[in-house]
Symmetry: C2
């Protein structure tokens, strides 16, 4: 499995990928899933891949070969638009899959040679763009409403992107969000694993400005993970209280004791309750003060 994400914000593009490749749980390796084609000052492409590794390598090798072939009708140096680049990679992908399928002649019918790609980059004079290239060769761009694309194991890491990533977010905040998204996925699916690759393509830089590989023992990454865990715990604890937490009842035990200890016990409990009440009501906010009794949302 794999998890890759590309984010497009006003400031440019962020691309991120894990590096775990598995052919079964007994054959796990580390592979780079982020591939850069850079022509500084003119154009830059970053390709992320999920799916069959052989197909992916076939596509990348052919793209490289076309660059060095003066007779090639199209290559990444000559395409005019980002869409054309995505379309070109899609065609290479379909061709690579067809070649294997024809060789198989119906054998190994369960073998999946599909690959799904994300292309991110910018060509001079054009907007930066990200495209998701499907195994059948067609592609879609990201929308301004949902300015990110994911491939591979996409679900675990999607909520944080859905909530946070908007076009106005800075490139660095988008990158931190991508790292959290990857971290959440790696916690929930062991077939997605570190180290993580991260590339920054600021608008009009026409090159990869920063490229990081973050492993579990990289100080920045371990600090990010630790900070996120702590912040999330604080976030859950700061959520509004339920009504019975705001007006806790006296423990039954205190009421069955003799008069004197009961009074003391009640006072002790009362003080504690008032403290809890004040704090809890602050978090509950105004406008709910009349709604703390039983009933309310219960049914």
């Amino acid at each position: 499995m794999t998890y890759c994400v590309a984010i497009k914000v006003n400031e440019g593009l962020v691309m991120a990928a894990d590096t775990r490749t598995a052919a079964g749980v007994d054959d796990v390796r580390t592979y780079n899933k982020m591939h850069t084609f850079e022509f500084p000052g003119d154009r830059v492409f970053v390709v992320l891949s999920a799916g069959n590794l052989a197909t992916t390598q076939h596509v990348l090798a052919q793209a490289q070969r076309d660059l060095n072939d003066p007779t090639a009708t199209v290559n990444l140096r000559t395409v005019r638009h980002m869409f054309d680049a995505a379309d070109y990679l899609g065609q290479l992908s379909v061709r690579a899959q067809k070649q294997v399928t024809q060789q198989l002649q119906g054998q190994y019918s369960s073998l999946n040679v599909e690959t799904t790609l994300i292309l991110g980059g910018q060509i001079q004079g054009e907007e930066p763009a990200i495209y998701l290239i499907y195994p059948v060769g067609n592609c879609i761009a990201a929308s301004p409403e949902t300015p990110f694309l994911q491939i591979g194991e996409i679900k675990y890491g999607k909520p944080i992107l859905d909530r946070f990533v908007r076009p106005h977010v800075t490139l660095e905040d988008a990158a931190r969000c991508a790292l959290v998204s990857l971290d959440s996925t790696m916690r929930s699916n062991i077939s997605v694993g570190p180290p993580v690759d991260l590339a920054f393509l600021p608008r009009d830089a026409l090159k990869v400005k920063h490229s990081l590989r973050l492993d579990l023992d990289t100080p920045y990454y371990s600090q990010l993970k630790e900070t996120w865990a702590r912040q999330l715990e604080n976030a859950v604890r700061s959520l509004p209280k339920f009504e019975w937490e705001l007006q806790p009842q006296l423990p039954l035990q205190a009421q069955t004791q003799s008069q004197q200890p009961q009074a003391q016990a009640q006072m002790g409990v009362q003080t504690q309750q008032n403290g809890l009440n004040a704090a809890a009501q602050m978090q509950f906010g105004s406008g709910n003060n009349g709604n703390n009794g039983s009933g309310g949302q219960s049914y």
Copy 2:
């Protein structure tokens, strides 16, 4: 689609479910997926369901019929252990599926009549327990390391549970976490939808102590959603800065200006940088001060 989650903490059980049922996007309805069998003071069961609605209703109807049948060899009132209750429901589920499949006689082979259940509850003298009952009738309990079970669209809402839910967490914090988990899922998958049902089964209460139905316009739920969105945004913004954010370079433009404005511009920028630097370094923590230059984690 559906999303249900059951959490077991030291204080007891929390059960939560969405209410959206869909037979295609053009046939969406609201159905209760949380079903309670309560024998206060003796035993309590809450069943959550995902999958074929007819199969689920068949299982529940049969369980109810067995309760009213004095000749029934086993029912929810007579089972001795929580495992036996889970096993009993699993058998009812298999029987319901078999009946439909036999009636079909090979027709509608694409029809999926499976249902997956979660049983949560407690029998007097036993520990509270949660079981996930698979369509084939067998079941698993939650583990102390991962004290929750999910059915349906489980991935979007899993990271927050993975990070936060531990046995020592309070019942109310576990419930808030379940609500966040449901909310994240509903944002990412429209086939999971409000209102949300939430049940509290404190240890040894042997009944459902609180039962809430929360819709988008329920004040508590809308406040929880708003608080969570704000807290999450703060959490992302408090993550450690990248090295180049800690030592930002002067903008090139300032350097091309004449001597006097350049000095002013630089001072202005410098002040701003120092402010950013101080705040950023605080978040970056100690021990990284020697690592702010270029290089470092870049490759």
